[in-house]
Structures are given as C-alpha cells and as structure tokens.
Amino acid sequence: MQAYFISQAELTALISSLLKDSIVIAPVSFQGKNILQPINEGTAGNVNLSGYRTIEPFKSFLFKITEKVAEYFNVDQPASGKKLVFLGVRGCDLEALEVYDKVLGEGEFADPSYLANRQDILLIGADCTDCGPTCFCTMVGGRPFPYQLFDLNLSPVAGGYVAEARTEKGEGLIALYNKASDEQVKEKENIRQQVIAKLEANNQEYKCHCTINWDEAHKLNLENTKAWQTITKNCVECSGCNFICPTCTCFLLLDQKANEQNDRFKVWDACLKSGYAKVAGGANSRPKLYERLQNRYHCKFDYSFDRLGRYTCVGCGRCIDGCAGNIDMRKVYAELVRQAPLTAKLE
C-alpha cells in the first residue's frame, strides 16, 4: 500500500465532502474519552482520532436496537437510506465487524437490513495512539491498529495522518494528497510498537502463570461451579456487558398490535437476563445467575470457536468499563486458570 500524508485541515475538508451524501459517524472527545457522534458541518473539526477506542461501539448503526422487521402479512425489504461512513474504527472494532459479517451477514438467513447498510459502507480506520487500562486486544490475537476490512486507514502522526488505502474506494479518496515521507511512516510504526508494548505491560499480571494457554485454560475450568459462584457475586444482571459488547448479536422478535396493524419488531436482548432461556410452562435451563454468566463466557470463547472458528471476544474491554459490579474478564480467566488443578488434564 502506498502511504500518503493528510494534514489535520485536509482531514476536516475530506469529512466535509463526505457529508454531502453520507452519514458520518466518528469519535469526538468527551471528558477525556472518545464517544461516537454523527458528524455535521459544524462539528467536522471536532473529530478526534487519537487515543483509543470509543466508549460505545459502532454496532448500533448496523444492528439496530429496535427495528420493525415485518407487518403482517407483508414483508417488505428495508430501504437502504443514506450511505454510512464509519470514521475512526479501531483494530478491535474491525475484528468485531468481521464477527458481525459472519453472524448477521452470511448464510441462508442473512439479515437484509444489516446487509443493506453494510454493503455500501465506507470504513476509515484509525491506529490507537494509546491503550486504555481495560484494553487487552493482544491477548486474544488482535492488534491496536486496523489490519483488515477497512477501505482507508489513518495513523495519527505529527501534524496529521499517514493514510493507507486497502481498496479502490479508499484509494480514490487520497490519490491527490502528498505521499508520506519515510520519517512519517517510521513514526507510525514506532507508535504502533509503543502501544503494543504498553498493552503487554498492562496485561502482564493476567497472563497465565503456567504452561496452559487460553485455548487449554477455558476448556479446563469453565465447569468450576464454585469459582463461578464467587465470580458472579458482584453481578447485578444489568446486562451492560451484553449491550455494550461489539460482538453480541442476541435479539428477540416481539409482536405488537396497534389498532388494525400487526407489527413484528427485532430488539436487542441479553443472555444474562433471567428469562432468556425460560420456556412456556416455566422451566429454565439456566435459572441461576452464575450459570448465565458462565454461559456468556462459554459463548465468547468456547462455542464461538466451534461455530465460527474464532473467539468472539475482541479484547476491547468495554464490558469491563461498563460493568456495574466491576467484574473484569481478564481477572476471571486468570483466576480460573490458577484454580484449575493441572491433574484435570489427565482425566
């Protein structure tokens, strides 16, 4: 990929031109963190691509919180609406997008409204110039910079950004800018290495202190009921982890009647809720909260591996930030591994 250089002013101008026919979702700074906002002419200059991932993920723009999916007995295809631009997607956000593409976008029953918004989307990534205290993408095979799925990537350096395109769509946006110098490319690489080093250092205490790696660890001790009961002590079933997680796709189909009209809605759902697995007649295969929390971890690290060939946790740490009970999944895993009797492997 040929590397170009875009100044801060040139980026603001690029955003303005994109706004002519697209909705642009980008991070802006808020109380020291980044949050996502739809950008307009007036706020194009507020876009902040440095730092690390936003508090909330991009998910709700592709997988809506509530959405009407049918009016009986007609099923119209959803209108695509304006094109979307995601600006400032991080490495973890793009990993999550790959999961969404697999779950919502593939197979016999792909979600037509997801595909309608996804197919024309412009993805502009951004390197992380720092990591948050809860970030752990490197522990699940990720990196703190985009390396897949993006059209164009922007790496913040002094005075602007090193821009590299991955697709023709991305190339078309930057072909007229100046090429990046060797020093600028080197600066980009240095920043990447620094962030990786900081991630490793931050997460050193959670690395398994034995020869068992993550693949073995989760199979070994996910059944340890006592450990899970302890882990779940602080959980209040707020389901913040489910809702803020960029790879969670659980939904519920709800039917509603309004006068003569019968509608069906698809709404976000959360596996931690007590009624998630309850059937008519009252039976529930996961009546206890620790069973549901245990199932969530199984889903992210165990079942997803069987279904999709990968973890569905991208190590963004949003669930740790969002947890009302301060449950940290890195601590959960480290504790499960420490408690795991090594002899269990011999059974």
Binding site: G107, T249, F251, D255, D269, A280, G281, A283, E291, D306
Partner: protein, 256 residues
Amino acid sequence: MITETSNIKTFVFRPEEPLTFLPGQFMLVTIPGVGECAFTPSSDYKVTETLEFTIMRAGSVTALIHQLKAGDTVGLRGPYGKPYPLKDYHGKDVYVVGGGVGLAPLRALLYGLNHEIDHLNKVEVRFGSRSPQDICYKDDLPNWEKRKKTNIVISVDSAAPGWTGNVGLVTTILKDDDVDVKNAVAVVCGPPIMMKFVNKRLLDMGFAPKDIYLSMEKNMSCGIGKCFHCNLGKYFVCKDGPVFTWEQIKDIPEPW
C-alpha cells in the same frame, strides 16, 4: 380442532401455499400482534393439504390459539430444523418413549415409521401421562395398536376410578427385554424432567449414547440460528436439532 385433554388440543391447519415437513422438524405459528411459538407438526408428513399441530395451553400465545375457531387465520413459517433420520433406523428395533404432550412429534414419527415399517424390525411404544384424563390421542391409540410390528404400552402417574392399566412413571414400564439394545434406537420426547430420567434408564438398559435420540426444547425466538436464544452448548436447537443424540449433548453443562 380436536380436544385431546383439558389443556391440549389438536389443530388442523390448511396452508395457503404448499408447506411440507419431515417428522421431527418444527414450524413457527404466529398469532398476529401477539406472538409466535414453535411447534412440531404431529400429522402424517405424506398428507400435504393439511397440517396438524397438538398444542398445550401454557402461555399468552397458546391461550389465544386455544380460542381459535374454524376459518380463523394464523401465520406459519417453516419447516426448520433437522428431522428424525429414519433411514438410520432401518433393520433395528425402534423404542419410542413419550410423555404428555411430548407425544406430538412422536405421533408424526409413528406415521413416518409406519411408512417405513417393512424396513424396521419392530416398533415398541411406551407412553406416560399424568392421569387417564391427560392421555393424548385417545382415539388414535387403538388404531396404532393394529399396525404391523407395533406394540403400545401406556402408564399413568396417578390413577382415576375405572383405570385398569399400569400406574407409575413411564420409566417403570421400560423393561430390560423390551428391545434388543444392541440393535435398537430409542427416540424420546416429553417434559425435560421426564427426558432426563428416561435417558438415565435407557443408558442403564445398555443403549449406546449414539442410539438415543432426544427432542430437545429451548426458548426460541427466530428459529433460524440467528438470535442465539436456543443455544444448547455450541449447538442451536433450531438449526442443529431439535433432534440430538445423547452422544452429541452429553458433555453440555445444562441440557435440561
């Protein structure tokens, strides 16, 4: 619409477009504006103009289904899921064990088995209900008794005046020499607690885990493997089931 028991009815639906299924698959029935539930058709799959569903009144949607009258319209989509692998039962004894309204998919299975009866050794049916009034398909049972190579034994958990048959949980009528376990398959459907204990009994009788077929039930929403509600370990009951062998699910933390 046939009333089977105080809270179970069989409904005959006529689909507007051709809609066929294989025994073991399920469909989703919608009461517009209220909700949608998954049911396994209990009719003969070779009869294509109508579909029969045996439905217990258990919640808000089924309560409204029970109030349906001839000529009413419901929504229907499907079939989804993997059917009973009838070809795998050829040359074997088929041990069919059901409880309560769990007999609904087994009725479809029995029609299916009867179509293949020349390829099967024999069909032994064991069926339990809570009481004589709760026995499903009272009118069908005598006809099934007359079928080739088919034997039916029923039991009730608690008797009522006039009942002269077996009394006890369905596990009490599963006898060691009912079938040749080395050359048999067991097909079970019923409430989770019943399936759990029948499964145990079958393993004690000597059935191999791969020869026990269980109709698993989970809370379903989409029915097509997307909403994750029905996850049974790594499987989705809607897409990979609802029929599973015990071999497939024996290591899952909370199958029942």
